[in-house]
């Protein structure tokens, strides 16, 4: 398969679809942006693609909670097609609002009887915040972060605090290698300290994946660091050309080569 096809799913209020498509294109994929209404009308469309990406934004305004409405549309009207997509060994990536959607639709973590095992909620600061953060990958088998140790990326969200239902669940995720990304402070642990951990996420979690490592979500925006000049300190650094975030998309594309 020379060039995997990437479906960038957009909905009212999605606003990172164009730069996410650009990132996949730079990485060698063939992105197409489609409105969720199109997919709801024609769910079989999904089968034509190898990668599904839910980009950032404010889907349906996030009016009743970030990612809730689109998450529930997926859960109730597209779950079967998403399941088939996963079973076919394909990749799903949710960035920021996309991560929130994957969490709220139960696509990323199976919903238990007691409700969702984890969620993303309001930042400790109580408000939207945009800043660059330092991240490290934590021994996961996630396809998207293969070969990446540490990476700087920007966050821009109001509801990005990762919380789990209970300690054992989080410990289980960690043990299963499903915690992919953690906020860190100047090379060391952030230990929840603001602003290195910008939202108060439990255990500094910034991104997780499912048991297969093929479905992942993260709050930071890798598509905003595909060019060296996007780094806030590029004028202080030697790096030129591609930005580190591009590797996330290259990993996805390479998976099908």
């Amino acid at each position: 398969m020379p060039q995997p096809r990437v479906l960038i799913l957009r909905a009212p209020g999605t606003n990172c679809d164009q730069e996410t498509a650009h990132a996949f294109e730079l990485a060698g994929g063939r992105p197409e942006r489609h409105h969720v209404n199109r997919l709801l009308d024609e769910p079989k469309l999904l089968a034509d693609f190898q990668i599904l990406c839910l980009p950032g934004g404010f889907s349906y305004g996030d009016d009743i909670g970030a990612g809730r409405i689109l998450g529930s549309q997926i859960e109730h009207r597209l779950a079967e097609h998403f399941a088939q997509f996963k079973e076919a060994g394909k990749l799903i990536l949710g960035i920021c609002n996309g991560f929130q959607i994957l969490m709220k639709s139960g696509i990323l973590l199976p919903v238990a009887d007691a409700g969702p095992p984890a969620t993303l909620t309001w930042n400790d600061s109580g408000r939207f915040e945009a800043r660059w953060v330092e991240l490290r990958t934590t021994g996961s088998h996630c396809v998207f972060f293969a070969g990446i140790d540490r990476i700087d990326l920007p966050i821009a969200h109001a509801e990005g605090k990762f919380v789990a239902r209970d300690e054992p669940f989080l410990a289980g995720l960690e043990k299963a290698g499903q915690v992919t990304l953690r906020y860190q402070a100047a090379g060391g642990d952030a230990r929840g300290a603001y602003p290195a951990n910008p939202n108060g996420s439990l255990s500094d979690v910034a991104g997780i994946c499912d048991a297969t490592g093929r479905v992942a979500g993260l709050m930071p925006h890798p598509e905003r660091f595909v060019d060296a000049t996007q780094h806030p300190q590029w004028t202080r650094r030697e790096q030129r050309g591609a930005g580190d975030g591009l590797r996330v998309f290259e990993n996805a594309v390479r998976y099908f080569r």
């Binding site: 009212p12 730069e19 920007p154 060296a228 300190q233 004028t235």
Partner: protein
Amino acid sequence: LGSAYRFELVTVAVRDLDDVGLARLSRQGQLYLSLAEMQTIRTYFGDLGRDPTDAELETIAQTWSEHCSHKTLAGRIAYRDERGSREFSNMLKETVFAATVAIRRRLGADDWCVSVFSDNAGIVRFDDRFNVCFKVETHNHPSALEPYGGANTGLGGVIRDTLGTGLGAKPVCNTDVFCFAPPDTPIDELPAGGLHPRRVIQGVVSGVRDYGNRMGIPTVNGAVYFDPRYLGNPLVYCGNVGLIPRDHSFKKPQPGDHIVAIGGRTGRDGIHGATFSSAELTSQSESLSGGAVQIGNAITEKMVLDVLLAARDRGLYHAVTDCGAGGFSSAVGEMSEEIGAEVWLDRAPVKYDGLSYTELWISEAQERMVVAVPPEAWAELSALCQSEGVEATIIGRFVPTGRLALKYGEHEVANLDMQFLHRGRPPVVREAVYQPTAAQPLAWPRQPLDPAVALERILGSLNVASKHWVIRQYDHEVQGGSVVKPLVGVANDGPGDAAVVRPVLSSRRGLVIGCGMNPHYGDFDTAHMAASAIDEAVRNCVAVGADPRRIAILDNFCWGNTDRPETLGSLVRAALACHDLAVALGTPFISGKDSLNNEFRHRTADGREESIAIPPSLLISALGQIDDVSHAVTMDLKSAGNLLFLVGQTKNELAGSHFALVGGCSGGNVPEVDAAMALRTFSAMHAAIAAGTVRACHDLSEGGLAVALAEMAFAGGLGARIDLNCVVREFSTTSRAPKSVAEQEASLMRALESSPERIVQAINQQYEQLESGARPAAHRDVEVVGGTGEVPSAVSTRHSPRPLDSAQIDAVTLFSESNTRFLCEVPRDKVDAFRLLLAAVPHAAIGEVRGDGRLEVIGGFGEPCLLADIATLKAAWLKPLDW
């Protein structure tokens, strides 16, 4: 509300009214027209032999409103000042527009302006495929009454401006500039009916945040100014830059096209917004005009944006414009001006029942656009909108009648001649007077202010203090084009000069967005205030690497009540200065907007009527370009050992400065702009940056050299040592300052930790030049094109200088806010190249970057006059607005 509307045609018997009755109708009907305008309406309908309907009267009031027609500034003005008098038949046209006309004529075939002062936003060339457009709007009165909604829809509105420019531009970044009263204003000083500044600030910032972030448009540049006179009448400027394919830059509706409303539904929100903005704010405004303020829904607008740009690319319409102030009345009225239109008001989708035909027509409900759709494209447009859940409705037709006809069902509710509507308004005739205030020498603080104390106080003053609390709430990265962010440096928290954005991700070409404003200078002379604002906006852009030959600027005049000749006079004076400096620099104005009557009238505790007028507030916004974004520089110091060069002349200009503010001193000289020098300096600086000789560059503005140096140092997490005796100064210094080359060299040696001989030699030459007074007129490597550098009407009102003592000389050198200055960090191996490129302009090595986290400034005695720890300075700077 909500119950069905029963049609009843309302006519207003204007023909029977005497002048008193007309005036009452104008005020009570919230038309806010002048008596002469009301009389013109009475005569027009008298000639027709009928009375107008309420819808006709509202249409005229909206079209003739200050907000929509800029009748004061585009009107006849008799102006006089100390130089003589001048009659304008259209003041704006003869000042700011005229500058652009002159510049375009001079550029000839190289003209890069595309559409100026005609569409919703000004358009200039970007690259082979795209043009860019820029518009900055104000939303002051709505934000005074309801800060969140006012600011929210202010941004929403200006985004629709670029979306409605040409055939539609893609919004790529926002700007925002606010003016507030200090947040610590005591409660008992609030005028009745006014909101506390802290509440205004929080509401405005949240309003902009929620709209910009949800729309997915990065907010990349802005400023916040504080002055007690913004109490009751804050200023909220919102700007938007759009990217537009070159072949989609013009629009023309055709007869027979459908008039199609796209987006939000029409409701009772925003009735009389256009006309209310002409009225002065009072303690009653909230109850009288609360309904003029709307609440936005950014997601609806984002959905409109998505379908509209898709429709544009498929060529599904001939013209587009936004529903802003005046709603359909303004949008359809403007689009059909050259053709004629018939509108079927009952077909407009409504939020709820019960709206009268007039309310439908003038409602300013948000998120609506109007497009001119050829009948053959309607089906495709309709399907496209439907596929994304956006409502599109035919509400009328462009017809070649030259008339605006409104229908509600079978009933005609308005029928107006376009000629009368758009050209029937009697000209506004105003008098304007400017009386320069006699120059006063600077009253120095009785207790000399220690430079380190002054610096810390200035850094901790509201205007200079870090705005991170605001900036962090805005997404400045979305769309992935961010190159130079609002916060820069080793800890991502230093104050960047201008933003650099790469709007086309497949290209290296960038946009540079900056702004300039300084209301304090207006207290001394609005001409110099205006020139300083232009200089600041341009130098911000140049400081990050913009090409000064490709900077376009916008004007936003926010003033008090211009019925007072002296208030209007201070504005005309500013406009004249804008013309002169724009022509001299070759920097065209491409769009602008004014907001007059920014006053808050209230009754004081002891029963007096009092009006708080804002200070003259001219915002200049700049849109620059940079060939390759990887040539951009940021203001944070990079490496210990690099040299620091101060480019430009430092004059004794402390009037309106932040040193004067924190020291409580009045008088002095207000910063002026030497246009010829500015033109040469911008060209040379650009050449030096483009050649890669500059590692960091910061413009000198509020707080002068001291603040620029401190900001560069703490943004870079480094320190610096400079010697003030090296600074190129244009004011008399005492004999204590070293004069000879040897002395100057010795003082530089003190500032430098280690100086390879070669550099000292190179630097020696500059002193020789300075001593002999010789300055190369032009330099072979720096081609100055674009401007003339000549300002014909420059008038200096300076007093003759009194000799300063050594401490005062140090203070002037550190804190003067002279224009056109840059502080540059230059690696030692680039010094020769840098100096060669700067040969045509005054510049001097004044010190070096050090790694010790301290600032050390050598003063006139050859000993440190300022020693400070950057951590302390940074903390002072971060604190005031760390909410």
